[in-house]
């Protein structure tokens, strides 16, 4: 396990944004009424936010970052780091973070780059921005995390469409002596194709065949440019790996689990998360869920859950939070952070 601590770092604010357009799984026609009821009860997802064509993850993250920078009253010239975590960039080339740097009015002295990660991306991204800032006295940084996953899935695939939703987020971090974050990050590349968009990269370049819709079973048709998800493998992966990863972090750092105020999980699947919660022996009131209203928004689920479910607490209290992301890669990790009355604007809808 890659367990490590990043000193001299603090979170100053978190914002999130979603598209206005809502889709309701009660209306999802690829499964019947009884199956819809079973899905909503078991997986826990009722509503999903869907970006219009042309609206990107960077647009959603820009809205969150612009609002957050204004509410923090930060001088944008002081932002030294911007990291954009996404699997749905504006372009294959160039890196989207450069476009965000310009659009947000950040200085040329700002270092920026993209990271290609999904469900684990928020935790990984925090570790990267925190690590970069720890040696920059007075340094300020932005972690922008989001995806328009609905653009990567087939509308004729009942195994993906009712799960995924779109969102963006912005987290403001600052060098601060005496503060720290703990991380435990892991990878298992054997499962690289458990969640995959097989065509469109450079292993399988786009050809005419990439667009062909193939019916794999009733209710599951997709092309090579659509996401394939092996639900059972991912479910078993989460049951096997998430609780040991979290326990490993807390044990290594000598943190008493009962002192953690909230465990904020990547919002993948209610049955899966409840199984993990029971393994961890954590009380229900310490595990907030946003997936009924917002579904699985990839790397944005953790900040989106904080903004929609813990906004009042994180603005007005000191909180001890355990964050856990897991999925595509396979990549997973947890972070232990302590927040102190941070800025957290209301959810933005664009």
């Amino acid at each position: 396990m890659a367990v490590f601590t990043v000193p001299n770092i603090d979170i100053k604010g978190i914002a999130a944004s979603v598209p206005k357009q809502v889709e309701d799984n009660e209306q999802f026609s690829l499964i019947n009424e009884a199956e819809r009821a079973m899905f909503i009860k078991t997986v826990g997802i009722r509503y999903r936010r869907v970006a219009e064509a042309g609206v990107t993850a960077s647009d959603l993250c820009y809205a969150a970052a612009d609002k957050l920078l204004n509410e923090l009253n930060w001088n944008r010239e002081e932002v030294k780091v911007l990291v954009f975590v996404t699997q749905t960039p504006d372009y294959i080339i160039p890196n989207t973070s450069s476009l965000l740097q310009e659009k947000l009015g950040l200085p040329k002295s700002c270092l920026v780059f993209d990271i290609n990660l999904g469900c684990s991306g928020y935790v990984y991204g925090l570790s990267v921005v925190a690590s970069l800032l720890q040696n920059m006295p007075n340094g300020k940084g932005l972690l922008l995390v989001g995806d328009v996953s609905t653009a990567t899935i087939s509308k004729h695939d009942k195994s993906t469409t009712p799960l995924f939703s779109d969102a963006g987020s912005a987290t403001a971090l600052q060098h601060e002596a005496g503060k720290q974050m703990h991380f435990n990050l892991q990878t298992d590349g054997k499962g690289y194709d458990d969640i995959i968009v097989p065509d469109g990269g450079f292993r399988n370049r786009v050809t005419e065949k990439s667009f062909e819709q193939v019916e794999y079973e009733k209710g599951i048709s997709r092309s090579g440019l659509d996401m394939k998800l092996d639900g059972i493998k991912i479910f078993n992966f989460a049951l096997r790996e998430v609780a040991p990863n979290i326990n490993g972090l807390l044990d290594d750092k000598g943190i008493d689990k009962s002192t953690v105020d909230y465990f904020v999980f990547h919002q993948a699947n209610l049955l899966m998360l409840e199984s993990v919660r029971k393994k961890l022996k954590v009380e229900t009131e310490k595990v907030p869920y946003s997936l009924y209203d917002f579904g699985n928004t990839s790397s944005a689920t953790i900040p989106l859950t904080i903004v929609t479910k813990l906004r009042e607490q994180i603005q007005q209290q000191q909180l001890k939070l355990l964050l856990s992301g897991f999925g595509v890669g396979l990549s997973w990790g947890s972070a232990y952070i302590e927040t102190d009355n941070i800025v957290c604007p209301q959810l933005i809808e664009i």
Binding site: M38, T42, I232, F235, L271, M272
Partner: protein, 75 residues
């Protein structure tokens, strides 16, 4: 674990199927309600109650509830 306990735990996962109609000889994959959701519910139950992992291939490789029980016992 006993077979009867397992049958009860397995049947409890269903929403609309009368648990009384499920017995060791039930070919569960032929039940109208069986599908991917029921597979996940069964996997989660087996993980929490028995600490064993069921794969998609495991589930496809058996027909009756008793065969599933025997498979879990053999793991």
């Amino acid at each position: 674990m006993s077979l009867q306990t397992f049958v009860t735990q397995f049947a409890d996962g269903f929403n609309q199927t009368d648990p009384a109609t499920i017995n060791p000889h039930t070919e569960f994959r032929k039940l109208e309600e069986w599908g991917s959701m029921m597979a996940l519910i069964t996997i989660a139950m087996v993980d929490s109650e028995y600490g064993k992992t069921l794969t998609a291939e495991d589930i496809k490789g058996v027909n009756t509830v008793e065969e599933l029980y025997n498979l879990i016992n053999s793991k």
